[in-house]
């Protein structure tokens, strides 16, 4: 298993600003994932972050809007840039442990006004 923490747990931001979300894991992992979960919707994968390489973004998500850092095997950040109300969502990081089991952080609830 893995214990994952995220900061901040929630934030209210003004449109046009940026927010950086931190994800910390209690063990070294190869792959970290960033998801978005809008109210009543399923989890949508934003990108996969491997240490030492550029993040891989899913269709509909671009690096300029969601830059990701992965400086080591236990930490990653996701920045939501130039925010608009449509970015209001819960952002979750996760890691894969064992065979295909994903462990999630508690999420960051973002509200953009």
């Amino acid at each position: 298993s893995a214990v994952i923490s995220q900061k901040p747990s929630r934030d209210i931001c003004q449109r046009g600003t940026s927010l950086t979300i931190q994800c910390q894991v209690d063990s070294q992992v190869t792959m970290m994932f960033w998801y978005r979960q809008q109210p009543g919707q399923s989890l949508t994968l934003i990108a996969t972050a491997n240490q030492g390489s550029e993040a891989t973004y899913e269709s509909g998500f671009v690096i300029d809007k969601f830059p990701i850092s992965r400086p080591n095997l236990t930490f990653s950040t996701l920045t939501v840039s130039n925010m608009s109300p449509e970015d209001s969502s819960i952002y979750l990081c996760s890691v894969e442990v064992g065979t295909y089991e994903q462990y999630f952080g508690p999420g960051t609830r973002l509200t953009v006004t």
């Binding site: 792959m31 994932f33 009543g40 919707q41 979750l92 295909y100 089991e101 999630f104 508690p106 999420g107």
Partner: protein, 113 residues
């Protein structure tokens, strides 16, 4: 397009009964299927994984079945308890590549005492 369907209506049952949740999918030939539990304000928690060549998997009061002909998985909780009340998500991963799962929207389960 690929689609994962879970009942959007909440399932209400009495304590002690068996809860059965359904996950249907189209245009997939998944390598495996997973079930997660998500409580309000929390990240999803991994429960069970079943592979394409398995028909059934059990863990304590949980049972998952996987019918690749019907393209359906059933998730059962026997002797349900109010503490089982949560949203349950199914997730599928395709063979090849990174096996990163795609999530359904989830079904809310409410167990009444």
């Amino acid at each position: 397009s690929q689609k994962i369907e879970q009942n959007s209506e909440a399932l209400n049952i009495q304590e002690g009964k068996t809860a059965t949740l359904t996950c249907n999918y189209t245009n997939y030939s998944p390598a495996y299927l997973q079930w997660y539990r998500q409580d309000p304000g929390r990240g999803p928690v991994f429960l069970l994984l079943i592979r394409e060549n398995e028909k059934e998997k059990r863990k304590e009061r949980l049972k998952v079945t996987f019918d690749t002909t019907l393209k359906q998985s059933l998730f059962h909780i026997t002797a349900s308890q109010p503490a089982d009340s949560a949203t349950y998500l199914c997730a599928l991963a395709l063979p090849g590549g990174s096996y990163i799962p795609t999530f359904g929207r989830g079904t809310s389960l409410i167990v009444h005492p």
